[in-house]
């Protein structure tokens, strides 16, 4: 293994380690925070930090594995495409969850200090 590949390998492993830390933080946040809307914020932490960073880590790690031949480029590309798709779909999912929960009044909104949406605004 050449030195450049070793650098790729190290960066990949480091990104995966940071990602697992954020995953744990997100899980603690989901258990700890008081209301549904606050828990969605913790979910975003474990989505971006906990799944996008490790995917990028795997992509970089796969470039370093020279013995896999040309197949490693496909692994890298698949990881990057998954990152793109998660970046699009995960926030739109949490947006529609929050919108549905707010409009149907199923989740308690407290604690909430200021609500601009309830002051005479039409909901589309």
């Amino acid at each position: 293994m050449s030195e450049l590949n070793l650098v790729f390998y190290g960066i990949g492993l480091g990104l995966i380690a940071i990602g697992s830390f954020f995953e744990v933080v997100g899980a603690i946040g989901v258990l700890k925070l008081p209301s549904f809307f606050l828990r969605l914020h913790a979910l975003t932490v474990s989505c971006i930090g906990g799944s996008i960073l490790p995917l990028l880590g795997v992509a970089i790690l796969a470039i370093g594995l020279e013995e896999m031949g040309s197949q490693r480029l496909f692994i890298t590309a698949i990881c990057l495409i998954s990152v793109f798709i998660i970046l699009i779909l995960a926030p739109s999912g949490s947006h529609s969850l929050a919108r549905a929960a707010y409009n149907s009044n199923t989740a308690p909104k407290q604690p909430l200090e200021y609500d601009a949406l309830s002051r005479g605004v039409n909901k589309d």
């Binding site: 926030p91 739109s92 707010y102 604690p111 601009a116």
Partner: protein, 166 residues
């Protein structure tokens, strides 16, 4: 041919995705991929890209690069703040604030909303296309005023998004 660049753009993206998802680079894959992406482009091109693309739109890739750098910086800040809130019990002040936006196109609005939702600490709750307001649930609100909130949350993204999508 009308809107040739649009068709070429969509066609290339789908062809590249097809080849990557099969995991092989043979003539067979290439021929089938060209057929499949031609059909998909014919069906979906007009609904995906509304604007007619021009050749100098390639320069917008530079803004996209700048946008990614900005996005990564914002992500790191927001993550550190959320870690502080969750692990070290930093006091929070949740609020729903109204934030105005000035982007015209659908893609611009979507990109701003997705970026705001992607940064931990802010979630777009609802969007009002008539009065151009976004309602954002903010975990640690420092202000309730729409214009000040816009300066803090979206104005940095919005300048770049306006240059990319217009």
């Amino acid at each position: 041919m009308k809107r040739f660049l649009n068709k070429l753009f969509v066609f290339t993206i789908i062809l590249v995705f097809f080849i990557i998802s099969t995991g092989s680079f043979k003539y067979y894959t290439l021929v089938i991929g060209v057929i499949v992406s031609a059909i998909t482009t014919y069906l979906f091109e007009s609904s995906i890209v509304k604007k007619t693309l021009r050749l100098y739109d390639v320069l917008k890739l530079l803004y996209l690069f700048k946008y990614i750098v900005y996005f990564v910086k914002a992500e790191i800040h927001a993550h550190l703040e959320l870690v502080e809130i969750i692990l070290f019990n930093k006091p929070i002040k949740p609020a729903i604030v109204a934030v105005p936006y000035h982007v015209e196109s659908d893609y611009g609005v979507t990109l701003i909303a997705l970026t705001v939702t992607n940064t931990p600490g802010t979630i777009v709750l609802n969007i009002d296309t008539n009065s151009k307001l976004m309602y954002i649930h903010w975990i640690n609100a420092s202000t309730f005023n729409p214009d000040e909130a816009r300066l803090i949350i979206t104005s940095g993204f919005e300048k770049l998004v306006e240059k990319i999508f217009g």
